[in-house]
């Protein structure tokens, strides 16, 4: 992009579904082909719009799972009473068309060198891991060595998204899981919702001037953000992205 003026399409563009892959029983990643895709920043999202043959339309926002420069992909969790997520996770296949608007977001984004401060604290509740995974991939892609701690709260091990990728984290990235509803036999890790005690044990000390990104259901984000502020993180160093009651 350097040196070129890029005309941004600020409204809806047609996208074609490419490859899809199931991450967990409820979660699927879809690669999207968008002509003239302008690129994106780690942490941004897309608005997706579906149109039925009677003209009915539904729109939802989904975080971009890929790092800048990688093929564009979103990761979607199926909500049981959802209208869009069941379509994206169960019906949509290669060649299907939908509309996208974006990339969207200038607040919940990360790139190397954007922050003069210390290490990154990434806190994910369920599918809130999606934009944080894009950040971790961007860190790797650019060769950044900023230290990262990812605290990932999930219902169970089966619900952990990107598990094979996170099992072998890049140098300088530590991943801590808490499995809130069920745990594998012999699980030695955390097994409860994130609380102050857990944050005190896992999060970077405030004195290291960490920058935190917290993403997931609203109640998760509120609880974790309040906890980090309680540990001394300045409110301005805790970035939040709330997904609503469940998923996105």
């Amino acid at each position: 992009m350097a040196g070129t003026a890029v005309r941004r399409r600020l409204s809806w563009q047609t996208a074609t579904v490419g490859r899809v892959t199931d991450e967990t029983p409820r979660v699927r990643t879809l690669w999207l082909e968008v002509p003239d895709w302008p690129g994106h920043r780690a942490g941004q999202h897309l608005d997706i719009r579906l149109t039925a043959d009677d003209g009915y339309q539904a729109e939802r926002a989904y975080s971009i799972a890929s790092a800048p420069g990688e093929p564009l992909a979103i990761t979607v969790e199926r909500l049981d009473d959802g209208e869009v997520s069941p379509y994206l996770t169960e019906e949509a296949r290669a060649g299907d068309q939908l509309e996208v608007r974006g990339p969207v977001g200038g607040y919940f984004v990360w790139e190397p060198g954007s922050d003069p401060g210390g290490p990154l604290l990434l806190a994910a509740g369920g599918s809130g891991v999606v934009p944080l995974r894009a950040i971790v991939r961007e860190r790797s892609r650019t060769g950044s060595s900023v230290p990262v701690r990812l605290l990932y709260s999930s219902r169970s091990w089966e619900d952990v998204i990107y598990s094979s990728e996170l099992e072998l984290p890049p140098d300088g990235v530590q991943v801590t899981y808490t499995l809130t509803r069920s745990q594998p036999r012999a699980w030695q890790g955390y097994a409860r919702r994130v609380d102050m005690q857990m944050l005190a044990e896992v999060a970077w000390p405030a004195a290291e001037q960490p920058l935190a990104y917290v993403c997931g259901p609203t109640s998760f984000v509120e609880s974790v953000a309040a906890g980090l502020v309680g540990l001394g993180y300045p409110a301005g160093r805790v970035k939040t992205e709330r997904f609503g009651a469940t998923g996105q």
Binding site: T51, A52, D54, E91, A92
Partner: protein
């Protein structure tokens, strides 16, 4: 023109045509749709008041709950196109509440905790058509659905059934409430599909 997303359709369930106004679909859910956070007014501080008549009148929670109550089963219709059939409620009729006031006004502005307002003709609150409801589905009305008490006016779109209602201002003119100010219909009859101003 948007491309059609193959295989995508609205979530909908079979609807008996005579029960469901035009453009609506039936749901078994009861979506929680709010324009703001759920208020939690403690009952000792709760009042329902009617102003703009010859004398203002108000009831504490105890006084309100001592009034005669009714139970009813009715259908409700949201302007966002879902309808829910056979919902059961318990409440105090507006006929009872308005009988306590002398007034000449022809309109009300209902107001709620959190600042929500909606306007209605007085005539649509009388004659067994409206309640201040404190019970739903056989139990107390949950906070997320408007408890401790909400307005219930099922013959109009459900945005008129103000959650967390705290009273009525009687008015001589029909002044638009919260959503009506932003383009929703002043009256809101689902059977004439009066969703937006000008319908």
């Amino acid at each position: 023109m948007s491309p059609v997303s193959r295989g995508f359709r609205r979530k909908r369930e079979a609807a008996p045509a005579d029960r469901v106004p035009p453009g609506q679909y039936v749901t078994k859910d009861f979506p929680v749709l709010s324009a703001g956070p759920t208020p939690h007014t403690p009952l000792p501080q709760w009042t329902f008041s009617i102003s703009g008549g010859h004398q203002p009148v108000s009831w504490t929670w105890e006084e309100f709950r001592a009034l005669p109550t009714e139970t009813l089963t009715t259908d409700i219709h949201c302007v966002t196109r879902w309808s829910k059939l056979d919902t059961s409620w318990e409440g105090v009729s507006l006929d009872v509440l308005l009988a306590a006031v002398e007034y000449d006004a022809r309109y009300v502005l209902a107001f709620s905790d959190g600042g929500y307002t909606t306007n209605l003709p007085v005539a649509d609150l009388l004659g067994g058509k409206a309640w201040v409801a404190f019970g739903y589905g056989g139990g107390p009305l949950g906070a997320e659905h408007g408890g401790p008490a909400r307005l219930l006016v099922p013959h109009l779109y459900f945005w008129k059934s103000a959650k967390w209602v705290r009273g009525l201002q009687l008015r001589d003119t029909d002044v638009p409430g919260f959503w009506e100010n932003y383009g929703y219909h002043l009256y809101g009859d689902p059977w004439r599909e009066q969703r937006y101003a000008g319908d």
